[in-house]
């Protein structure tokens, strides 16, 4: 279904050409704001990198002990904490969150390793030519750089089971498309800015497709519906290369 409300899953990735102005990361302290009366968003200061994300994982881990929290949603170097009821004293909540952040030490999640077989090139690689143009690399080099990388699942979000994978070689970074593909197939292996991922739903998608995988990333009836979890390691295995 095409929703009129398609929105960027990470618009910072659109600004590769010039350094983006990150609203909250300019301060050294974590920035905390609200969404409605029950949800609080903590944004880490500093760069969008693995150390910052590791601290977000540590914070998420610590917050799981809070009885008054209904849901914790780690994002890209930020975390949304949704409380079960409207807190009486929002300032006290912010102080608690800030304190938990200050205590959060970077943790290295010992995740599993997931190997994803990829058919590089072919009918689903609709953005390969544009990526070659932009990078000045041949299609073969693009594939090699992609499958030689070791990736870390930063967070899940945007669609059921979709993992944002960090660790893409800078030579094949590519901004999201300004005009998304309206019907990109589930399974497309894509690049969005400095990240890569595998599309889990067929539908509008602004990332750049270079191949295809038929690995099922999400099963709502399984005990653990999503294959990926934050901290997991992902490797792509070239099963077929179509030039």
């Amino acid at each position: 279904m095409t929703s009129p409300l398609l929105q960027p899953t990470d618009s910072s990735l659109n600004a590769l050409a010039k350094p983006p102005r990150i609203a909250s990361a300019m301060q050294h302290q974590a920035h905390i704001s609200t969404i409605g009366a029950r949800a609080f968003l903590l944004e880490a200061p500093g760069d969008f990198d693995l150390p910052a994300q590791r601290r977000i994982w540590a914070l998420a881990h610590a917050l799981r002990q809070w009885d008054d929290l209904g849901e914790i949603v780690p994002g890209m170097t930020n975390l949304l904490a949704i409380f079960k009821t409207t807190p009486e004293d929002p300032e006290a909540i912010m102080a608690r969150l800030r304190d938990a952040w200050e205590r959060a030490e970077s943790i290295d999640i010992k995740g599993k390793t997931i190997e994803i077989g990829v058919h590089y090139g072919g009918e689903h690689a609709i953005d390969l030519a544009a990526l070659c143009d932009r990078s000045g690399l041949t299609d073969r080099e693009v594939f090699r750089l992609h499958h030689e990388g070791t990736y870390t699942v930063f967070a899940l979000g945007s669609a059921p089971g979709f993992g944002y994978l960090h660790g893409l070689d800078p030579r094949i970074h590519m901004p999201r498309k300004t005009v998304p593909s309206l019907r990109m197939a589930r399974g497309c292996v894509t690049i969005g800015g400095m990240q890569t991922g595998v599309a889990v739903l067929t539908g509008p998608n602004g990332w750049n497709s270079i191949g295809f995988s038929d690995l099922q990333m999400f099963d709502p009836t399984a005990a653990v519906p999503a294959i990926m979890a934050p901290g997991d390691t992902v490797r792509f295995l070239p099963e077929r290369i179509e030039l």
């Binding site: 279904m1 960027p8 102005r21 920035h31 409605g36 849901e71 949603v73 899940l156 709502p220």
Partner: protein, 329 residues
């Protein structure tokens, strides 16, 4: 079992949704007006969060295969075999009888609860339809003509008919409407509010029209655009229904029940959870104005809603007991 004889294109099975899975990218879904859903369920003796039919396109016609207690709440005009039912009403439909729901001018969505609840399979803790994920409800899709919906086991209904005062009336003092007819929706400034400079005040001061590009995922508002004083780049962050984001066009989007789990646009405000049910009943083309609120006010509204729900729960049980006692004499 009930049978859908006729339905508009966008009606689904919903309960209170499946929160708890946003961290794996799964939308919570659930009723756009959870208050109307709870009341419909309490009227038929269900747990307040049982699965019901959410009707947002009319008409809906359904036939009872056996005698079934049902309740209709929210915005609709309903008839049973052609006889008009009072609003927010519970009654028993006999085998073969047809319930029809037609649109009402005041509110956008109606809820039909059945004693025992709609018994579609529970997926990830909920029976709500996830349209985006294509699971939950009836095969993850909109209802269609010919669907037969199984019902769960009903607790014995001891009342023939019962109605309640709708919340918009019962809670009038807590949920005001502006003199110009705009819905007043309470909200708190969100993370990027102050980056909008003088435009932030125009966000609060103007009355926004709910555009036709609005659905269960979210409402696109039209009005005089508001823009940040400088371009704002965001890292993807978790979102909840009620977040008011501003895409480059400058016309805000309010995320609703089928909201994505993550977003990247700057957010100017967040609607109080206690006002979401009213937004869920706002019609395309109607107007809303955002009113700057506080946590204290949010708590007062939460309390008023909870008291109303408790009142309906207690009254329904009390009436049931009284009638049972009288029948037992």
């Amino acid at each position: 079992m009930i049978e859908i004889i006729d339905t508009g294109p966008l009606n689904t099975i919903q309960d209170l949704g499946r929160p708890g899975y946003r961290d794996i990218g799964v939308t919570a879904s659930g009723a756009m007006d959870p208050l109307a859903l709870k009341i419909a369920n309490l009227l038929v003796g269900n747990d307040e969060g049982a699965a019901v039919i959410e009707v947002q396109t009319f008409p809906l016609r359904l036939r009872f295969r056996q005698a079934t207690g049902f309740a209709v709440t929210g915005g609709t005009s309903a008839t049973l075999d052609g006889v008009t039912l009072p609003p927010w009403w519970m009654k028993t439909g006999d085998a073969g009888q047809v319930l029809e729901l037609l649109p009402s001018p005041g509110a956008a969505r109606a809820y039909v609860a059945f004693a025992g609840g709609v018994d579609v399979p529970i997926v990830m803790g909920s029976r709500s339809t996830s349209l985006r994920g294509a699971f939950g409800g009836v095969d993850g899709r909109f209802l269609q003509k010919g669907d037969a919906l199984p019902l769960g086991e009903a607790s014995a209904l001891s009342v023939d008919e019962l109605g309640v005062v709708p919340p918009a009336m019962a809670l009038q003092e807590f949920f005001p409407v502006a003199p110009d007819g705009s819905l007043l929706i309470r909200a708190l400034p969100a993370g990027e509010h102050d980056l909008f400079g003088a435009d932030a005040e125009r966000f609060w001061n103007q009355s926004w029209k709910i555009s036709s590009q609005s659905d269960r995922t979210g409402y696109r508002l039209s009005g005089e655009p508001v823009r940040p004083t400088a371009p704002v780049e965001m890292r993807s962050y978790g979102i909840v229904p009620g977040v008011v984001q501003v895409p480059p066009s400058g016309e805000p989007i309010v995320q609703m029940s089928d909201a994505n789990t993550a977003g990247g646009y700057p957010k100017i405000a967040g609607v109080l959870e206690a006002d979401l049910w009213r937004l869920g009943q706002a019609r395309i083309g109607s107007r809303v104005r955002f009113v700057r609120s506080s946590h204290a006010e949010a708590r007062a509204l939460d309390h008023a809603i909870a008291a109303y729900v408790d009142d309906v729960r207690n009254t329904a049980q009390m009436v049931g007991r009284a009638l049972k006692t009288m029948a037992g004499r």
